[in-house]
């Protein structure tokens, strides 16, 4: 067990980090801990939690903007947005179905892991919606980058740098996002029985139409259930109806498309977002691989028996692959093949012992790794924040 400190304000965060930096004692940073299984298991005697920094601090629907402190539950912000007919366009990814646990995901964790869902293919990731952050760096200094306006090139974009930095640069204390109106309704076109190559080809064809497909996933067949190739449309009622007809016509060569209504569509995309429902036992290790969609099915084929279950999202550009959690969870064979496909792989789930022994994130080329180290050093010269979480130091 580690000693946990939960400051009420940025001054408390600064004091905790200053103390750690002065003593050169590493600290772990966490929100509620719902994503604690992500990254390499970092070692530290002390944990700094943002769970007491809470509250929506700005909600301006007519400016498409919302701000919240880091410890605010994502669900609370989503509820506030829903009240005014808006949402996070990136469809926040929730790691609980992968890791289990009851902890309520926070805004800080969402930003620190850039955790985006299926709509990322259309609307961008967390990093694209994030327009401002406050962050206490490893120097125990609180800085702002960006702000509350969606077009801002004043100074370097440290907002993007903070997003997905897994606590390596600082503790995010508050985040501001561009929001979008929630769609009036949605529908999903389903084509059954396609193999991976044709399924991904259908997704790419759909993404190349003007009908603004907001989700594009291929669920391979398993246990007697046929494969499903899924394309989501979200918009005003009339537009969804019209576009579903046009899209089905454009995809006719791949097969007849069934149409899921709004409720069935929502349920399906919740499962696609969570990924776990299609990936079998939670005891399996889980990889998340990014590549260009058309190279994805070939990569899966080459991985062969290593793949115990898989799922394509983002038009095929995101592949979830379940492997055996034994040994190195397949890293030794998988990484070179992923590199050949000009992709990269993150080991999202595996026992601590496995994640401690290998690179969880795609290793960087030496020149890039040197730049990364320089940036980390610029923010956390004492190297006390989440040491080893992203990279072996």
């Amino acid at each position: 067990m580690t000693d946990t400190i939960s400051p009420f304000d940025e001054a408390g965060i600064e004091a905790t980090i200053r103390e750690a930096a002065d003593a050169r004692t590493p600290i772990l940073i966490r929100g509620a801990g719902s994503r604690a299984g992500l990254g390499r298991p970092a070692q530290a005697g002390r944990t700094l939690s943002t769970e007491r920094l809470t509250g929506v601090t700005l909600l301006e629907p007519s400016e498409l903007v919302v701000s919240a402190k880091a410890g605010t539950p994502v669900a609370e912000v989503e509820a506030e947005l829903a009240r005014v007919g808006q949402r996070f366009a990136f469809e926040p990814f929730d790691h609980r179905p992968l890791y289990g646990g009851e902890a309520e995901p926070t805004i800080g964790g969402l930003v620190a892991t850039n955790a985006s869902g299926p709509r990322r293919i259309y609307a961008g990731a967390v990093r694209d919606a994030l327009i401002g952050v406050r962050m206490t760096t490893g120097r125990a200094e609180t800085i702002r980058s960006g702000g509350r306006v969606m077009k801002n090139v004043t100074g370097y974009d440290l907002v993007k740098l903070a997003c997905g930095s897994h606590g390596a640069l600082g503790v995010i204390t508050e985040a501001t996002f561009k929001t979008l109106p929630a769609a009036e309704t949605e529908a999903t076109l389903l084509i059954e029985g396609l193999d991976d190559v044709h399924g991904v080809a259908a997704l790419c064809a759909g993404m190349g139409t003007p009908f603004e497909v907001t989700g594009a996933a291929h669920i391979p067949g398993q246990g007697g259930q046929p494969a499903r190739t899924c394309l989501r449309l979200e918009n005003f009622e009339n537009q969804v109806r019209y576009r579903a007809g046009e899209l089905a016509a454009r995809l006719r060569s791949f097969g007849a498309a069934d149409r899921l209504d709004a409720d069935a569509s929502r349920a399906l995309w919740r499962d696609v977002r969570d990924a776990q429902p299609f990936l079998g036992s939670p005891a399996r290790a889980l990889w998340r691989i990014s590549t260009a969609p058309t190279r994805a099915p070939g990569l899966v084929a080459r991985l062969g028996a290593l793949v115990e279950a898989h799922l394509y999202d983002w038009s095929g550009g995101l592949i979830w692959i379940a492997t055996s959690a034994e040994g190195d969870a397949g890293a030794g064979r998988l990484r070179p093949m992923v590199r050949d496909a000009r992709g990269h792989a993150t080991l999202v789930r595996a026992p601590d012992a496995v994640r401690a022994g290998i690179d969880v994130f795609e290793p960087e080329a030496p020149a890039l790794a040197r730049l990364t180290a320089g940036i980390v050093q610029a923010f956390d010269p004492a190297g006390v924040l989440n040491p080893g979480r992203m990279h072996v130091r």
Partner: protein, 481 residues
Amino acid sequence: MTGIALPAPDPAILARRDEIIAGLKALVPGEGVITSEEERRAFETDALTAYRRMPLAVVLPSTTEQTAAVLAFLGREGVPVIPRGAGTSLAGGALPQEDAVVLGVAKMSKVLDVDLANRTVRVQTGVTNLGVSAAIAHEGFFYAPDPSSQLACTIAGNIAMNSGGAHCLKYGVTTNNLLGVTFVTLKGEVIEIGGDALDAPGLDMLGLICGSEGQFGVVTEATLRILPMAEGARPILFGFASPETAGACVAAVLGAGIVPVAIEYMDKLAIDICEDFAKAGYPRDVGAMLIVEVEGSADEIDEQLARIGAIAGDHGATYARQARTPAEAAAIWKGRKSAFGAMGRVSDYICMDGTIPTGTLPQVLTRITEICDNAGLKVANIFHAGDGNLHPLVLYDMNDPVSLAKAEKAGEDILLACVEVGGCLTGEHGVGIEKRDLMTAQFTRIELEQQMRVKSAFDPNWLLNPAKVFPLDDRLPKVAA
């Protein structure tokens, strides 16, 4: 000379000019090294034309390898480098200095690969913004960021400044449409960052480099996200009696769950000048005008415009006219996109670029009018209303130094007003030299120091575009990264 200070050239570098040029010529053959005064003249300024500085030399590499060799050489020799795209920066981002070599990407302008299935293109960064869309238009695709200078400006410059445009309300700015870059450091290292997949591993270096104003390295190739064109698009013009009613209408449209691809605002003076020039059919008898564009099939457009029209009516629109033909639509956009050129026929001007929370529009417009009235200057307001990005054009007389000084002061006051209401100094043009000395109004010293440490991590000796972005007198060039 004018108000913004520039560093005194280093005499030791000036004295070594011949040697430096010889070194460059050994790396880049033939016409790639420009040394004559006459030819260098073309590079002495950018679109912030009040400032001019003759560079030591200009080098135009033809390949990434040459770029790497040149950067390694200049880095080793301690010679400042001014990266340059097409030189369309309105903020002085490409302004040279006498002891610096301009490194232009103009000779690297090919579209290398088009991948429609994966919706990406790979380009050399000297290609123009419009050149990217032109290469894929016949396939029904386009590249979304559309700065007004898109005919001339390069992807290299777009990446350096994280350029926007009129349609970024829906499609985002450069950083949202950039998947990968070939990045050359001052040590001459060639680093591939990102690729053609959606998320790159590690820290978001791509996001950090985009908008770094040529202060980290030189991007020679880029992988861009492209999008299928909408079935159709149609702009509608609304006229309002006052800026306040126009501003309230924008807020109401967005609040109603409609996100048009573009919402552009023009005030009376901007309307008059653009209409004189472009004959776009703008209404002359209104106090403010909005151009709202929506996309989709003809029926979808009708439905959206009906919703928007009803909201505009509720907010006191006194004029409404849809484009009925593609020619009318083109004319409406021609008026807006030629605004800067049209203004240039009438008067010299400086174009400001603050962003404000859109709800503060009426109060900021009132403030802008006050500031310019007090200075005895005219101002025309053009505004990406959906995203809060203001472009007040402050008119002055270039031949009258007093007038320029007043215009620069008024411009500063306008930007400070933007910061005061929770906005920022620059929405899409970048800091350059123009807003450099105002950065202390936006950021604390601690925040600026942290940004400077990031620069030092890429460029410890501050050779890349060194006189830009950060105030000269408050620098920590030796800040340990």
